[in-house]
């Protein structure tokens, strides 16, 4: 099978999976919202108005206002940027670390492989959330620290996946012929094998974004997520939690935003996986 038939097979399978298509559309919309934020947010998300505190949804404030009279809709829209940034940067870091370590240990094997995989085992046995909590609290919560810490504590799955792909791919004909032609290891790893090993990485990255969004909200609940007044879904939700009985709108809208985002990424990720190879276990 050549590349193009593989691709068309992928699309045919993907389109058949309606949930995945819906997930993909939602993800696309989220991107659009994040990019167009200043245009679509009706208010300055930080504009305080103590005369309109905890107002229920109305025409002027479709999502209501929070405990400082800020417009929830605008905050949720601005929050989408933060959530996406956390998701993408964290997953980007994890993917880069995972791909490099996985590729090298899969390709070279030997002691490097042993050490790396042992390290993966170790990282996998430490409760990651504890690690994130400890590091962030010691460094100080802030969006960059959160992204970095989530990234460096979630690369292990990618490393294993990439290693497994490399193990099976490195003995394949196209690799052997490239080597016979005198290509450098670097070239073989990054130009020949890696592109063929990327599909499971893509799936795990899409799923990872969903995970990172959830971790941010959990950190916000504990008070060490993205710090107010910067709006993140997690910290809007946390404000809402304390007012849940009198102002449901503060927690419901960011809650739905998180829920839809996580669901969309998961459906999309699963859809991609099933379309590439339903037996992939990620």
């Amino acid at each position: 099978m050549n590349q193009s038939t593989l691709k068309s097979l992928f699309w045919r399978r993907f389109k058949k999976n309606r949930l995945a298509v819906i997930g993909g559309i939602i993800v696309f919309c989220l991107f659009a919202v994040a990019v167009l934020t200043p245009l679509i947010a009706p208010y300055n998300p930080d504009a305080i108005n103590v005369k309109h505190v905890l107002e229920s949804p109305s025409i002027s404030h479709p999502f209501g206002t929070d405990d400082l009279g800020r417009d929830i809709l605008s905050r949720v829209i601005y929050g989408s940027r933060i959530s996406l940034a956390v998701g993408f940067v964290a997953v980007g870091i994890a993917t880069i670390i995972g791909v490099i370590l996985g590729a090298l240990s899969g390709y070279y094997g030997g002691w490097f492989d042993t050490v790396t995989m042992r390290f993966v085992d170790i990282m996998l046995s430490i409760p990651t959330f504890f690690l994130i909590l400890a590091v962030i609290a010691m460094l100080e919560p802030g969006i960059w620290n959160i992204m970095i810490v989530i990234g460096i504590t979630s690369w292990m799955g990618v490393a294993r996946l990439v290693r497994a792909e490399f193990l099976s791919l490195k003995e394949r004909e196209f690799v052997l012929s490239a080597r016979a032609l005198g290509a450098s290891d670097f070239r073989i790893i990054f130009r020949h094998i890696l592109p063929n090993a990327m599909s499971p990485v893509l799936v795990s990255a899409v799923l990872g974004i969903a995970g990172a969004v959830l971790v941010e909200s959990a950190l916000s609940f504990l008070g060490i997520g993205v710090q107010p007044p910067t709006a993140s879904w997690g910290n809007i939700l946390t404000i809402g939690k304390d007012n849940i009985e009198i102002a449901w709108w503060i927690s419901v809208f960011p809650g739905i935003a998180i829920f839809i985002t996580v669901l969309a990424y998961n459906l999309l990720g699963e859809g991609i996986r099933d379309s590439i190879d339903p037996r992939l276990k990620i």
């Binding site: 305080i48 103590v50 905890l54 400082l68 100080e140 107010p228 007044p229 304390d242 007012n243 849940i244």
Partner: protein
């Protein structure tokens, strides 16, 4: 004197909102049970207690208090957090206490004599008071406590007041005498329960390793039963309490770390007493259900919240003396401009929902030392801009931010995590200052990091913090220019020779009129110079289940002072205590 080892739990504590984040100040331990302020019972509740037959005092029932923070150790001199002091205060009494009319009265001490020169206090202890293990409480216990508290090896934050004592003597079994080096006006107030220890249980042992920290023995209204870590501390009434057996048989201190969960527990009737947040007080407890089953109380807390500026850029390493002043904040006009740009009423309305009042100074309103007639700063952004222009701040590059000598007016306000009231205050200030062209960043820090790494090391531009004040007006440690060393409390490096002199005068005389004069003048100076912008005095807003009677909140003392007289009428009792 100071309480530094604040625990996280304390930070997030709801009970008495003012204590949520603070540095406890000056003889605080005397008043930990006695939260002062002028008390107002919420209008929705019927405040009058009629002693008819239905509501006759009766023994029995259990009081469940909800708390966010778990106590850390129940030996008062070792404890730093409010939870520990709350519980230990029910178990261990001090020599003196504040009465509801704000006079100091004897507690374990029956009476005392003060020598003519004011330098020596002789306490005559009540006779026949027993520790709950049966041993008699005597002057030796006080002496032992005193020796322990001034011992360098004891990790206590309260030794400073006791180091002023030149000589301590046990005259006889029931008489204890303390002689001071110099006149020390707050002296009497310091003899609270931090200095009382059961000598017979501790002698020859390391106090930090003592099991008394987890299983205390005292002589107060309640005695310790058990402490289930992370869940509850259970106390039961001390039948031999020297002021009479408390009516309520059991006191359970339930630990619930999440405020939203705690409120649900209150609503479900599983806790009887907690501190409400302003939102809970104003918006969530107005239903018929709450009106019927609970009673809300409200009184100003003896505390205030402020924004403090770092007046100094560079300090001498050891003395903390300022070498180079902060170029912006050391200019009085800049500080006054910021004060004009902040609408204190907006903060009180928007953050406290009206449960507090704008602060005008550093002293407790409604006490003899409080000066109400000082310069106040009404919200006036034009005046603020004008003052900034005078000080040389203009927006020359048109970016909306004022600048001077090529530097934009940008600074960071630090405050602590977990305190929504304070974070919201910072957010409002940020918003208001943006409107006069000052860009503010808000950074929230975990409490111990905040204090250890930023306040103590003076690494801040501006902070939002609060002081909890004792009832004695001595504020030497906050404002005196000698108190600027690392870890000392004049961390903004305020330096005014006149204030220094007045502070010294205020603590070295026993004449109340003299003291009052000194403190009134200090307040005038502070209001003009604004080393802090005094933001607000929050109200304490506790709620208690309506079946509890006999709660008589008193001005400036609060409600816990007579807990042994609280009761639940027989037919209203909810929990049966099986002994």
């Amino acid at each position: 004197m100071f309480i530094r080892n604040q625990k996280l739990e304390t930070i997030k504590r709801l009970f008495f909102l003012y204590s949520v984040i603070h540095i406890l100040l000056l003889s605080f331990f005397l008043s930990f049970l006695f939260i002062s302020g002028c008390v107002k019972i919420d209008k929705g509740a019927n405040a009058v207690q009629t002693a008819n037959n239905d509501t006759a005092p009766a023994y029995g029932d259990t009081l469940v208090e909800g708390t966010i923070g778990e106590p850390s150790i129940l030996i008062p001199m070792l404890a730093g957090d409010a939870s520990s002091h709350d519980v230990a205060g029910l178990i261990i009494n001090g020599l003196v206490k504040y009465d509801k009319d704000l006079t100091l009265v004897g507690n374990l001490a029956d009476r005392w004599d003060i020598s003519k020169d004011g330098l020596a206090i002789t306490f005559h202890l009540k006779k026949g008071i027993k520790w709950t293990d049966g041993a008699e409480f005597t002057a030796d216990d006080v002496m032992y406590g005193f020796k322990t508290i001034i011992d360098e090896k004891t990790p206590t934050a309260y030794s400073e007041d006791f180091k002023q004592v030149k000589k301590a003597e046990v005259l006889d079994k029931y008489t204890f005498k303390a002689t001071y080096e110099k006149p020390f006006a707050p002296a009497l107030t310091t003899w609270g329960n931090v200095v009382v220890l059961p000598k017979h249980l501790l002698e020859g042992k390391d106090i930090t390793k003592s099991e008394l920290g987890r299983q205390p023995v005292g002589m107060g209204p309640y005695k310790f039963v058990k402490w289930t870590p992370g869940q509850e501390v259970v106390l039961e009434s001390n039948h031999d309490y020297f002021e009479g057996r408390p009516y309520i048989d059991r006191y359970v201190y339930r630990i619930i770390p999440d405020p939203a969960t705690m409120f649900l527990e209150l609503k479900a009737g599983n806790i009887d007493w907690m501190g409400l947040t302003p939102i809970q007080y104003t918006k969530q407890t107005n239903t018929a259900y709450f009106e019927k089953n609970f009673k809300k109380y409200r009184y100003p807390a003896p505390a205030y919240t402020y924004m403090g500026f770092n007046l100094c850029l560079k300090r001498e390493q050891n003395t903390g003396r300022c070498i180079e002043k902060h170029p912006w904040f050391s200019d009085k006009r800049v500080r006054q401009a910021i004060a004009y740009a902040i609408d204190k009423q907006e903060i009180v309305d928007g953050v406290l929902f009206g449960l507090g009042s704008p602060a005008t100074g550093s002293f407790v309103p409604n006490t003899w030392s409080y000066n109400p007639n000082v310069k106040k700063y009404e919200y006036n952004p034009d005046k603020a801009k004008q003052l900034l222009t005078e000080a040389g701040w203009r927006d020359t590059d048109g970016d909306g931010i004022l600048d001077k000598d090529g530097r934009p007016f940008e600074f960071t306000i630090l405050t602590n995590q977990g305190n929504n009231v304070r974070i919201n205050t910072a957010t409002i200030i940020q918003w208001r200052l943006a409107q006069i062209g000052i860009k503010v960043k808000v950074r929230t820090l975990e409490w111990s990091t905040f204090i250890n790494e930023f306040i103590d090391k003076r690494r801040f531009e501006a902070v939002i913090l609060g002081w909890s004040l004792g009832l004695d007006p001595d504020q030497y440690d906050i404002w005196h220019s000698s108190k600027t060393k690392e870890k000392e409390f004049n961390f903004v490096s305020y330096n005014n020779p006149e204030v220094d002199e007045l502070l010294e005068k205020g603590r070295r005389t026993f004449d109340t009129d003299e003291r009052k004069k000194a403190y009134f003048r200090i307040q005038e100076i502070l209001a003009d110079e604004l080393p802090y912008i005094f933001l607000y005095v929050p109200d304490a807003t506790p709620i208690v289940h309506a079946r509890f009677k006999g709660i008589e909140p008193a001005p400036l003392i609060g409600m816990g002072y007579n807990i042994h007289k609280w009761y639940v009428p027989k037919e209203m009792q909810k929990h049966k205590v099986i002994p």
